[in-house]
């Protein structure tokens, strides 16, 4: 065992010397390799952190949301449905929710207008999300004026700005009073956007939802668990799509690595011949070359991962911002909380180190079987 470790150290000694003798070529490879790891790792860390955060934060959403469907379209739901559904076992609370979208031509942004249930607002009062405040350049006490559906202009006094800590969920919110909401959008009394049902025991959720569809056949219930599950799936799927797209990059890199490993110079070939002539065995040469690959791929993996970590969690994933922002004008400023697990690291490792190693097996073997007596010829 001791001899085995010593031998590996000698092999590392030699490998490092031979890597350092061709610094340009190997450094280039390392940089390209690290860049690929960096890209993949950034995507992975970012989406995983976002997914974990979504799961944590949305765990407190309403358990069931009931929407009315008219001709396959989401429609206002009458408050009478609250009585119509009757008493359902397990439901501990039910009420209407009022919310809608408003397109602001001034900044070409979509706002979400909402009637909060946790606070009483005066008619002309509004609480706005931090991203709106930023985009519109307003602060507490300023006025915002919007033209409503009936052509009148309504002014809102900004009485508070939502905490920027929660920007990830509240960036584009405008909270207004129920009275103003109804007049602004022309929604008659007694109608709601949708209904919220609170169910304490999660085991009863499906039973409740099933009863709802039976009693109110023109509605669709949306369960919190389903929302969470679907967000999970979306982020997973997105991650998968990006990885599929980046597979092309990996493939190109693998071809590059293969080419580099098989295009041994005459000089290197001679060197291997010398090593074999003075007593190195084929498997020693294979092991030495394996160390060469391991040194490069481990370095690239660690360097790429570490820079990606810095990029996503310390530089707020600056490179992805334009992609995520897309067309949107309002973009939340948020600092992601790092969530990392073994699966992420193992997957990343497989995606980067495994293809490289596979690509170099055959070239390594080819180099290693050089005739030992070539140096005598």
């Amino acid at each position: 065992m001791k001899a085995f470790i010593r031998k590996q150290r000698y092999l590392i000694d030699f490998t490092l010397s031979s890597l350092l003798r061709r610094p340009g070529k190997n450094l280039g490879l390392l940089v390209v390799y690290s860049l690929i790891v960096f890209l993949l790792a950034s995507v992975m860390l970012f989406t995983h952190a976002l997914r974990s955060e979504a799961r944590l934060v949305l765990a407190d959403s309403p358990e069931i949301i009931l929407q009315r469907m008219v001709a396959g379209r989401h429609d206002l739901i009458p408050g009478s449905y609250l009585e119509k559904m009757g008493r359902i076992r397990g439901v501990i609370g039910k009420h209407g929710r009022l919310w809608g979208y408003f397109y602001d031509p001034a900044v070409q942004a979509n706002y979400t207008l909402m009637v909060p249930r946790d606070r009483q607002l005066a008619e002309d009062e509004a609480v706005i999300g931090a991203a709106i405040a930023r985009t519109r350049g307003v602060s507490r006490g300023d006025f915002l004026t919007f033209r409503s559906t009936d052509g009148n202009a309504y002014s809102f006094r900004v009485s508070a700005i939502l905490a920027s800590d929660s920007e990830l969920v509240s960036a584009d919110l405008i909270l207004v009073s129920e009275q103003r909401f109804r007049t602004f959008f022309g929604i008659p009394e007694g109608y709601y956007t949708d209904l919220v049902l609170n169910v304490r025991n999660p085991k009863e959720l499906r039973k409740v939802a099933e009863k709802l569809t039976l009693r109110l056949p023109d509605t669709r219930p949306i369960l919190r668990d389903e929302i969470l599950r679907t967000y999970d799936a979306i982020f997973n799927w997105r991650q998968g799509i990006v990885f599929v797209l980046l597979t092309g990059t990996i493939l190109a890199f693998v071809i590059f690595a293969w080419d580099k490993a098989s295009g041994l110079s005459a000089e290197e070939r001679r060197e291997i011949g010398i090593l074999k002539a003075i007593g190195w065995e084929t498997s020693d040469v294979i092991r030495m070359k394996f160390w060469e690959g391991a040194i490069i791929s481990l370095s690239a993996f660690l360097l790429g991962y570490l820079t990606a970590y810095g990029h996503v969690f310390y530089a707020n994933a600056g490179l992805f911002e334009p992609v995520l922002k897309g067309w949107s004008v309002l973009y939340p400023e948020f600092r992601l909380t790092p969530f990392i697990d073994g699966l992420q690291l193992a997957t990343l490792f497989f995606f980067t180190v495994f293809p490289y190693t596979v690509a170099t097996i055959v070239p390594i073997w080819r180099a290693a079987i050089t005739d030992p007596d070539t140096v005598m010829r």
Binding site: V244, T282, L343, F350
Partner: protein, 335 residues
């Protein structure tokens, strides 16, 4: 179908491993046909050099499969949130009929790899390579396993349909717990414990017998393999319960989680190593009559069996610790 990086990685690994094994088996067949150790011809020299490539390919494949096994379970654990009623990896493996077979195949590949590498190791020590035909013939038996694993795993992943909100109707009433969350029932805990003790004692006895008498290496392999199977059974039906401190949670994978102090690793790693080495020792035991291996096999077997017994003891110690250190008392449940 489900697409995430881990599933992508697993599919790539299985595909690449199948390709590498195909290559290795192809070369192996050529070697079997033309091998002539006494010849000094250039063809023979080429063959000999091929053997280096084959063993590198095979060793690398098995290593990749081993890590893929872990990734497979990890991944199942993580995507469990996307299936209604799947509380953990068990539920995800139950999602379609190909989950469990894929897992079993992965384990089978790991063990056959261990056997092959042991044969290869022994063979490389003898000057006339007496096992060349045997080991490359054996590749022919391993290849179908690898290909079957690729096919089953692909079907498994393709068959996965996450229960998410679909475009048309909001809630979708996937019937909860229908098969998906079905617990592994397992045997009576008492019976499992008894079997585990008996088979462990048998394995240690046969192993000790070999160390002193140089006989019955195969018996050790057989008892070890039996112990392995019984140990898995016992983990499901009994040991896991103590770790979870819950009399009805039978999952063999949740013990790998952080919440249970990663107990699973301490149980599975020694168990798998011990079994792999025991199988290796069993595979080389009948070859002791080959002249050039006469000296090598007893020495190698001794080492393998010794280390295997050590790891098996370690497994028993960890299992005992898990049971004795638990707050769960199952007195009323099983005696």
């Amino acid at each position: 179908m489900l697409l995430n990086p881990a599933i992508l990685a697993l599919s790539i690994v299985s595909f690449v491993v199948a390709c590498m094994m195909l290559l290795a088996t192809g070369f192996g067949l050529q070697v079997v046909r033309h091998w002539d150790i006494g010849s000094g011809s250039e063809l023979q020299l080429t063959m000999e050099r091929r053997t280096y490539l084959i063993s590198t390919l095979v060793a690398f494949s098995f290593m990749a499969e081993l890590v893929a096994l872990l990734l497979f379970i990890y991944n199942a654990e993580q995507i469990s949130s996307q299936f209604v009623g799947a509380m953990c990896a068990t539920g995800v493996l139950n999602v379609d009929p190909y989950g469990w077979p894929t897992l079993y195949l992965k384990i089978a590949i790991f063990f056959s790899g261990a056997v092959w590498l042991t044969l290869n190791h022994v063979d490389n020590k003898a000057r006339d390579y007496p096992l060349v035909r045997v080991k490359y013939g054996l590749l022919l038996l391993i290849l179908p396993l690898v290909i079957a694993e690729l096919v089953l795993q692909t079907r498994y992943f393709l068959g996965m349909d996450p229960d998410i909100i679909t475009s048309c109707c909001g809630s979708l009433f996937t019937p909860e717990g229908q098969g998906v969350a079905a617990e592994l029932s397992g045997v009576e805990p008492g019976t499992a414990m008894l079997l585990l003790t008996v088979s462990g004692a048998a394995a240690l006895l046969t192993g000790g017998w070999y160390l002193f008498q140089r006989k019955s290496g195969i018996a050790f392999a057989v008892t070890s393999l039996t112990t392995f199977l019984i140990a898995l059974l016992a983990i499901v039906s009994c040991v896991a319960l103590y770790i979870y401190e819950h009399p009805h949670h039978h999952c063999p994978f949740c013990i790998l989680k952080e919440g249970h102090d990663f107990m699973g690793y301490y149980l599975y790693i020694p168990l798998f190593i011990a079994t792999a080495m025991a199988l290796g020792a069993g595979a080389i035991a009948p070859l002791r009559n080959i002249t050039s291996l006469k000296e090598i096999i007893p020495a190698e077997s001794r080492q393998l069996i010794g280390v295997s017994m050590l790891f098996m003891l370690l497994f028993y110690l960890v299992a005992a610790y898990a049971i004795l250190g638990s707050n769960l008392t199952m007195v009323e449940v099983w005696w």
